[in-house]
């Protein structure tokens, strides 16, 4: 199964659509990866995790990144997040939820020529921002969007 998965991922890379998806060890068994960046996805602090993964936490806010996420999550266990980055030369899209115990959630490496687009589901224990960090042309850009996780009930 791991082989098959690896093949699929290889295939998708060759097609230049979507590269490697890593999600806190959920999407992919850690054994598959030669170098699982435990110091990034295991970090309790977002800045530290981002620096460990991307080599820097020095980033600029960008209006070219759009995060689509619900204002209030229907289910905190599966919050749909879509990140679209329209700048040139997008190399990777990283998603973080700073209020999660391990804030770094996923990072997508994109092959050259790929659209700056990543869509996934993330788990959020409580309300907070969802942060996207886009690496493009060797530089880091960021944007955020608030998502509320509520206990629900009491609707009019």
């Amino acid at each position: 199964m791991n082989n098959l998965r690896r093949l699929i991922i290889k295939g998708s890379m060759a097609a230049g659509t979507l590269g490697v998806a890593v999600s806190a060890g959920l999407l992919m068994p850690t054994t598959v990866l030669a170098a699982w960046p435990a110091n990034a996805f295991g970090a309790k602090d977002m800045t530290e995790g981002l620096a460990n993964l991307l080599g820097s936490s020095d980033m600029a806010e960008s209006g070219d990144i759009k995060i689509k996420a619900p204002d209030i999550a229907e289910n905190g266990a599966v919050v749909p997040i879509t990140v679209t980055a329209t700048m040139a030369g997008v190399e990777s899209i990283t998603i973080a939820a700073p209020n999660n115990p391990a804030p770094l959630v996923a990072s997508f490496d994109l092959a050259g020529g790929a659209h700056g687009y990543a869509s996934t589901r993330i788990k959020m224990g409580k309300s907070g921002d969802v942060i996207a960090v886009v690496k493009a042309g060797g530089k880091l850009y960021t944007a955020k969007k608030g998502v509320k996780v509520t206990i629900g009930g009491c609707g009019g």
Binding site: I72, G153, C154, G155, G156
Partner: protein
């Protein structure tokens, strides 16, 4: 003492002579023959009802004395109550309109003017307006929350209302509480509904699309992934009218997701913009309206962000607004209405649409006084027939009301207090929690509280009660969470309900604070401070996450009422408010 129609009209005449009538009526050259004489205007008439909550027969319904606006909403419609409301909308104090729109002198006025709403009375008005506007020149829109809220709707799984709406001739509807039946029942009810059910903001989840169980349903669009038809186009008197549906965006959060696991909602204002643009480009409509269950604050924000909508006909927040709010956005203006609840009003908008554009409008939110409008015989016969199997249950007397029992308002109403007290007493709990719904009819002093009144306040499809220990921190977390749903300054984070009702618990609430900081000084009724780490026995109902183990809430409340025999509230657990002095959304509040 209830006035007859003739006595009432006589009284109206006197009020007119005494200068008590609202400006719009006084200004007309001749005294109106009756309240329901609404002059024709323009060429298209859109009638709008919303949030009747399955009240087939006339009811009492007290408007709130607490409807706080915070942030940008401070002092603006719909966050006005009582005298501030009347002043803002130019409604004469003491008039029958003032009774319809406000809580002022409620006990006396309710006895004078009688019950409001009722489908048979509504049907008479709708028929009359249809006839006056001419065949095919009007549409009847229903904003939803129509198939839930009464004992008979609960026992027939919404079907009594589907047929009543068919008889009334509802042309187009959207929904919210309609989705609180099982999904197959929702699909079945919509199948039996003769009008069109529309919602642009309900999609089938990506997981469910693989093997969708309702793939044969008419409104489902596999390519778009939408579960229901998003919009419809009607030609009214030669005018092309596009109506886009907006269901309650937070249905799976405010109500159980487990009944409708395959559907995902959300405000989806980008999708709304795309929809408006596409409809305008492809269908070339003369008028674009949205039939919305967003709630008024969300509608006002949406109207400021989405361009190209002429009118949003709104509901959900149960705001009976005599006039629309005009909202400017980057490319034009949008009218936003809200048409109250419990069958009390019919919104009537006459529009002048020419040369592919809205040129002018006339709007009335017409109160349905059952003493002034005759009951439509066919509708009344249907209502009597659909109620007959449940008559004995509904009419069971439980206790006598010694004061007005109501719910609507940001904090505990008196009927909520009855429910909370019942939970504490019957379940032997220290603290009780009850949802801040905005529906639930009113019982006036001297009236016998029947099982029907209890059902009107409680009948949901997840009525089970619980009794469990919670820490002080847990209780505070619940209050903060619900408080943020009500007082978050960004309307898109509001769910449109009121604050959770509490029994046995007092607290201080500062609505202007941010999340987690609004609630303080929590104490038990005897003044003992609530401690974060200490455990308290809590009773409640209406859990959305999973089914609770206890008896349905109406049985608990009925037990309590039978035991009490007479009901007078000794203590109302409403919070002490901070920072709300002078807020026009607050009147006659003991602890401001």
């Amino acid at each position: 003492m209830t006035l007859s129609r003739r006595e009432f009209l006589h009284l109206m005449g006197m009020a007119g002579a005494a200068g008590l009538l609202p400006g719009s009526l006084r200004a007309s050259s001749q005294r109106p023959a009756d309240l329901y004489e609404i002059p024709r205007f323009g060429n298209v008439c859109l009638m709008h009802m919303t949030d009747c909550h399955a009240q087939l027969n006339p009811v009492y319904f007290r408007e709130p004395n607490v409807n706080l606006g915070v942030g940008a909403a401070l002092g603006k419609a719909p966050h006005l109550v009582g005298n501030a409301f009347l002043k803002h909308f130019g409604v004469a104090p003491g008039s029958q309109q003032a009774h319809a729109f406000s809580y002022l002198d409620y006990d006396v006025a309710a006895k004078t003017y009688g019950r409001v709403g009722g489908f048979a009375h509504l049907a008479s008005l709708v028929k009359r307006l249809r006839a006056e506007r001419g065949d095919g020149n009007s549409l009847l829109l229903d904003g939803g929350d129509t198939w839930q809220g009464s004992g008979t709707a609960y026992w027939t799984r919404g079907k009594d209302m589907v047929e009543a709406c068919n008889m009334l001739g509802v042309d187009i509807m959207t929904g919210h509480w309609e989705f609180t039946y099982q999904d197959r029942e929702v699909i079945e009810n919509i199948g039996e509904f003769k009008g069109e059910f529309i919602a642009q903001n309900v999609k089938v989840t990506e997981e469910a699309l693989f093997d969708y169980k309702f793939s044969d349903f008419d409104g489902f669009d596999e390519d778009a992934g939408t579960a229901f038809k998003p919009y419809t186009l009607r030609t009214i008197n030669g005018v092309r009218v596009a109506v886009i549906g907006q269901a309650f965006p937070y249905t799976p959060i405010a109500n159980p997701q487990r009944f409708i696991p395959d559907w995902t909602f959300g405000i989806q204002d980008e999708r709304m913009q795309a929809m408006v643009d596409r409809v305008r480009a492809n269908e070339k409509p003369d008028l674009v309206v949205v039939l919305s269950h967003n709630g008024m604050d969300v509608d006002l924000k949406m109207a400021a962000q989405v361009t190209g909508i002429d009118v949003i006909f709104g509901g959900h927040t149960h705001d009976g607004m005599p006039a629309p709010t005009l909202v400017e956005n980057s490319s034009g203006k949008t009218l936003v209405t809200n048409a109250g609840s419990n069958g009390k009003f019919l919104g009537v908008m006459d529009l002048d649409v020419r040369n592919g554009k809205l040129q002018g409008y006339q709007y009335r939110l017409v109160p349905i006084f059952s003493n002034l409008l005759p009951a439509d015989p066919a509708m009344q016969a249907y209502i009597d027939q659909v109620r007959s199997p449940f008559k004995a249950q509904l009419e069971e007397p439980l206790a006598l009301a010694e004061e007005t029992l109501y719910r609507r308002g940001n904090f505990n109403g008196t009927f909520d207090q009855v429910i909370c007290d019942a939970l504490n007493k019957v379940n032997d709990a220290q603290i009780s929690l009850s949802p801040g719904f905005r529906w639930g009819t009113t019982v006036i002093p001297g009236q016998t509280i029947t099982m029907e009144n209890v059902m009107d306040q409680t009948c949901i499809t997840y009525p089970e009660t619980y009794r469990r220990e919670m820490s002080g921190a847990d209780i505070k977390a619940i209050l903060e969470d619900v408080g943020d749903n009500l007082f978050n300054p960004d309307p898109y984070f509001q769910q449109g309900g009121d604050m959770v009702r509490v029994g046995g618990l007092d607290y201080v609430c500062d609505p202007n604070q941010s999340f987690g900081k609004r609630i303080s000084e929590m104490t038990l009724d005897d003044g003992t401070r609530i401690e974060a780490s200490k455990k308290y026995m809590v009773a409640g109902w209406a859990t959305v996450g999973s089914q609770s183990p206890g008896r349905p809430i109406w049985d608990v409340v009925a037990d309590y009422l039978r035991d009490q025999k007479q009901v007078k509230i000794t203590k109302l657990n409403t919070p002490k408010l901070v920072g709300m002095k002078g807020n026009p959304g607050l009147e006659d509040y003991p602890a401001a």
